[in-house]
Structures are given as C-alpha cells and as structure tokens.
Amino acid sequence: MQAFTKHTGTVAPLERVNVDTDQIIPKQFLKSIKRTGFGDYLFDGWRFVDEGDLGMTPNERQLNHDFVLNQPAYQGASILLARDNFGCGSSREHAVWALQEFGFCVVLAPSFADIFYGNCFKNGLLPVVLNEREIDQLFHDCGQGYSLTVDLERQQVETSAGAIFNFQIDQGLKEKMLKGLDDISMTLAERALIESFEAKHRQSQPWLFLREE
C-alpha cells in the first residue's frame, strides 16, 4: 500500500448526506474480478445521464453537466468534501478503489460509515473527520481552485489562507497509513500468537473444527 504523509490538492464539494456505496460505485460495475478499472464509473448515476455498464468509456457517455464533479471548477480535484455518514450501505471496497482511481486522495466529512472508513485505511485513501462547523465553513469557502493541505503526521487540515483544523485519528491506523504498511504481513508477524490461540480454541470449542481433515 502507498504511504500517505501529506497531501495538497484542490477540493470538490459533494453536498449530500448519507452518500452510500451504491452511489459511489453502482453494482453493475462490481462484476469485475479486478481491483482496477472502477474510476471511470465513480458516482456513475450522478455523473452520467445514460445508464452505464462495465466496459463503457467516459467518452461514449452522456455527461450530467449539473453534477459537481463535471463542473469545470472542480476538474482535477483530489480532496472530496462530503457530508454526514459518507460511505454508508454496502461493504464493497470497490467504492474506495473507484474514489482513488478517479484521483481522490482524501475525503473530508463530519462522519463516515464504519465499513467504508475501515476500507479506506486498507488502500491508502485518507478519511478525515472534521466537526460539522468546520465542514460547513469549508463548504462555504470552497470554489474554483480552492485547495487544502492535509498533513497526517500533524493531524491537521490547513487552508491556503493559513487556517488550521485539527483532526483525531486512531494512532494505529495513522501509523499504518504513514508507513504504507500491509495488514496481512503485520498480522502474520504474530503467527505464534494466533497458533497458540487456535490450539486453545480447538480444545474448548471442538465443534468449530468439525470440517477439519
């Protein structure tokens, strides 16, 4: 996984609450057996007027010019400004892959749904929780070319005017992001611990191991 330390980029505001993962990447795109190729279909139902399907390229599609990500002001944005409960609904990790492939590195919101939040850290997309007032202010200030710097080490979001918002983050998740660590290797480093737990577990609840050969 790519490490995340500090990122400066322009911001796109998505003025909707409860944006669910079905909106982020509609289900017809989940048929792929790959981890890539989802960026073209990010927010497909909102970005395009026609109904999309896997394999279609954006050039052959009908753009919804009203949708914020299609507006010239927000082209190339890498920070998504969002509202409450972002990423709710289905557990599909494809939502995170799609956001990243589209070019987002950070999502700012007052709250995130649990599974989505966790999935972000497995892929190096940084979800940042700011309070409602701060998010309101960012929505208010956001416009063409509005940029922010997100510094994970210092847990700060800095505006180009120099205002600073601090954010909280789980220290374990922070470490992992900063170093770009791979979860599985981290856990396999504790192999002995898992094996000894498993041996005890097999003894106390043998019926959980009935299919073992």
Binding site: Q23, K31, R83, L208, E212
Partner: protein, 471 residues
C-alpha cells in the same frame, strides 16, 4: 468478573491479542464466500504466494449475479459474460484452494446468508465474516457476524483473524406481542426509523425483550439482517431453546457428545442480568403497524395508515434535505396516502425475506387470488435451492404460479439487480429486500421496502394495503 453483554462474551472468547495501538486481533471461525467480493482476495493470496490459513473455515456459494430462470442450464445460463467470469472465478478458486462450494447446480446453492444457517454452518458463539454487509443476519444465532471489505476477506483468508477495535453495546428492547399481520420485517423497519441509518454506528445491537424471545429463528434472521441499515456492525439475539432446536440435526452442526458439550456452552451465550449497555432503545410491539418505506433510505418509512411526510415536518435540516431528495426521486407528493401508492413490480426474495416462513406468509395472502392488472412482473425468488424444493413440496409454488407470480431459482436477484432481474426506470416496486437506495433494483427504479405479506397484498391489490385486514 464484571457483568458482560453477549457481545462482550463472544469477543472475549475470540480475542487473540490486543495491540498497543488499541486494536485487537479477533479469531474468525467461519468465512462465507461468494463470487463478487472474493476474486480480488484470492488474487491477492496467489500474488503473494500465501495459502489459506484454515481451508475448512471457509464455505462458498455463488448468489449475487446468478440468473434465477433456466437454472437447469447451469453456467451456460449465465448470458452476461462478466457475471460468468465471476462465477467461473469462484469455481476455479474454490477448486484450487480446496474450499467447499455449493456450486450453481447444487441443490444447496443459495444466498450465503440463507445457506449458512440452513446447513448448520452458522453456529452459536461463532465469529463469522463475509464480504457482504448483510452478514449480520447470522447474529440471530448469537454469532458475531460482520460484513467486511475485500481486503479484510483476504486478511481473514491468510490469517484467520480480523484486526478490529471493540464496538459499543446497544440494547434494542422490544416487549409485547406483534399484531397478526405484523412481522419481524415491520419491526426492524420501525427500529431503523427510530435509530436512523447511522444511529447505531460503532455499536453491536443486541435485540432483547419478550417480543424477540417469541420470534422464530427465521424472523430473528430478518431482524438481525438489517442491523447494518441502522449503521451497526452486527446484530445479536441471545441463545435460547428456539436457537438450539433450529440448529440441532443440521448437516454441519455437531452431534452426539459434541452436541451436548456445545449446547451446554451455547446456553451461556446471553448477556448477564446486570450487564451495562452504552445505549438503549425501547419499543412496544403493539404500537407497530405494517411498515412501508417511502424514501431512498431505510429510515424513511411510515405505517400503512400514514401518508408520505412533508419534508418540512422534520426538525433536523439533514433529514429535511434528504426527504426532499427522496420524494423527488420517488416521484411522491407529500401527503399522499401510503395506500394510494401503486406498484409496477413485486419482488419477494433476498437474504432478508426468502425463507420458507416468508413464502408461507405470502401464500396465505395470495392463495386463490390473481395479480392486479397493473403489476407487470411479480418475482418470488427463494433464498436457497432447499427452500425452493420445500416450497414446491408444500404446494406453495403452485399457489404462486396460479396467482400469476414468476417462481424462480435461488439467488440475490432483484435485491441488487446484478443479474437480469431489474426494475425499469421509474417503476415502483414493493420489495422484501433490505435497501431502497437510488437505483438499487435497477436504474432509476423506485423501491418500497415491506414484509413478504405486505408485498403479497400489494401484488393482489396493485397498491399497498393493510394486510392485517386480509388475514
């Protein structure tokens, strides 16, 4: 030891170790796999040359995008080439990793969350994961069952563990008797309406109270299924005789001495009397009428006697905005009576409501009647091949067909419309599934979440009716 909740007990029994960052390593007893969220995980293992930690702790079946008609064709019946690629990938991966699979033509194939309990693969006190958010279904068995993302699927495959911080405890207590014609589905919709879709974020819900104790296992599964729709990580119901009676004798369940030892342990899987919950919600069962969702979020529901609300009546500006959006999408005016909502399609199925009891409830309503003329299509999709066989043996399937329903083979079908079963744009559907999100059942389709009996009544009347009056 301090008093513990049921969740605390299962957690403690699976705690491999605590990390200094505050997270814990939790041992996972069972991973259910399906074709949509597993290929990238298997790919990850292969790329990194990692084996499955415990082959026997995995069970797979294709469900999300298998077609529900012409099942006898098997793989050849999958006309969508990309869907075919996914189902084939599951087959290949299961073969090369040695994972037990109920493949497309196996009579035990079905929706993972129907299949696990049906086979006794789901057992009380287990930790279960699946790359699907409705894994919470298995909480009906006092199993800590959670939906995970694809990276976590791979993590569990490789390590048999999940890295997690502990959730908080939420008690949802329901007492009293549900009225005839009111089901677990109505109950959970009413609960979500009160909690909100993020109300239980960061919590595990335990459903408690006399109403819950009186529910069958199938009804408990319906209830736990939608815990995620209130933002919860998982839902749980404590073990009682109903749980044990259901599990006993199932193919994967322990028997003989093992059964005795297991059930002795399972009986301890209840919250201690003085256990403390971080949050509590209380409801009276008598107060709950049949529910119908009018919006695009599972919290946007009303009783059958109510009207579509005016967005302005909500106090929270967020709710005002989202109700406004929803009504526009659903093309419903505020003030319209729920009973005056006409339907184009009916979908009875999904891991929420596609078990035999659900189908019996439908049959009781539609027996000897015909679909209303305005209903273009009415699908009944059993949750598994075995549910299908049983419904046919009981004569339910014939009742459905006689009434004009299309009787299908097992799968997720129009719950998420990844297979050919879909709503057309702007069509209204009475659906027994769990999500009414925009486009969930087809591009620009409009979903109303209801119980199987309510969907059945709507199929016959052409619009929503109060099924309490039909019994």
């Amino acid at each position: 030891m301090a008093a513990r909740t049921l969740y605390d007990k299962i957690w403690d029994a699976h705690l491999v170790g605590a990390r200094k960052d505050g997270n814990s390593l939790i041992y996972i007893d069972l991973q259910l796999l399906h074709e949509v969220t597993s290929p990238q995980a298997f790919e990850g293992l292969t790329l990194n040359k990692r084996p499955l930690w415990r082959v026997d702790a995995n069970l797979a079946t294709p469900d999300h995008n298998v077609p529900t008609d012409q099942r006898e064709l098997g793989m050849a019946g999958i006309t969508d080439t990309i869907a075919l690629q996914q189902v084939t990938a599951l087959d290949d991966n299961c073969k090369s990793f040695g994972v037990e699979q109920f493949e497309i033509l196996d009579p035990r194939q079905g929706i993972v969350h129907v299949v696990g309990p049906e086979q006794g693969a789901t057992l009380p006190g287990m930790t279960i994961v699946c790359g699907d958010s409705h894994t919470s279904t298995h909480g009906a068995f006092a199993a800590l069952a959670q939906g995970v993302g694809t990276s976590e699927v791979e993590h569990v495959m490789a390590t048999q563990c999940l890295v997690q911080n502990k959730a908080k405890n939420y008690a949802v207590e329901v007492n009293g008797e549900l009225s005839p014609g009111v089901y677990a589905k109505d109950l959970i919709l009413a609960i979500i309406a009160r909690l909100g879709t993020a109300g239980a974020t960061g919590h595990t819900i335990e459903y408690r109270g006399s109403t819950i104790r009186a529910l069958s296992m199938e009804a408990r599964m319906t209830l736990c299924n939608m815990s995620i729709e209130a933002g919860a990580r998982a839902g749980l119901v404590a073990v009682d005789q109903t749980t044990l009676d259901y599990v006993k004798g199932r193919p994967f369940a322990p028997s003989g001495d093992q059964w005795e030892a297991a059930q002795t342990y399972w009986r301890t899987l209840v919250s201690d009397a003085d256990a403390i919950f971080d949050n509590t919600l209380q409801l009276r069962a008598e107060d709950i009428p049949p529910q119908v969702s009018w919006g695009t979020s599972p919290e946007q529901v009303a009783g059958i006697d109510e009207v579509v609300p005016d967005p302005g009546q909500f106090t929270d500006p967020v709710q005002v905005e989202s109700a406004g959006h929803a009504l526009k999408y659903m093309d419903l005016p505020a003030g319209k009576a729920i009973k005056d909502i006409y339907l184009d399609q009916i979908f009875i199925g999904s891991c929420t409501n596609a078990r035999i009891e659900d189908l019996r409830a439908v049959a009781a309503i539609v027996r000897g009647k015909k679909l209303a003329a305005n209903i273009k299509q009415a699908l009944i999709v059993p949750g598994s091949g075995l549910v299908k066989a049983q419904a046919e043996a009981e004569g339910l399937a014939q009742i459905f067909v006689d009434a004009g329903f299309s009787w299908r083979a097992a799968g997720c079908s129009m719950c998420l419309a990844m297979n050919p079963d879909k709503l057309g744009p702007k069509e209204h559907c009475a659906s027994t599934s769990n999500r009414n999100f925009e486009g969930r059942q087809g591009h620009a389709g409009r979903t109303h979440l209801v119980s199987p009996a309510m969907a059945a009544g709507a199929a016959i009347a052409g619009h929503f009716v109060d099924v309490r009056e039909w019994l």
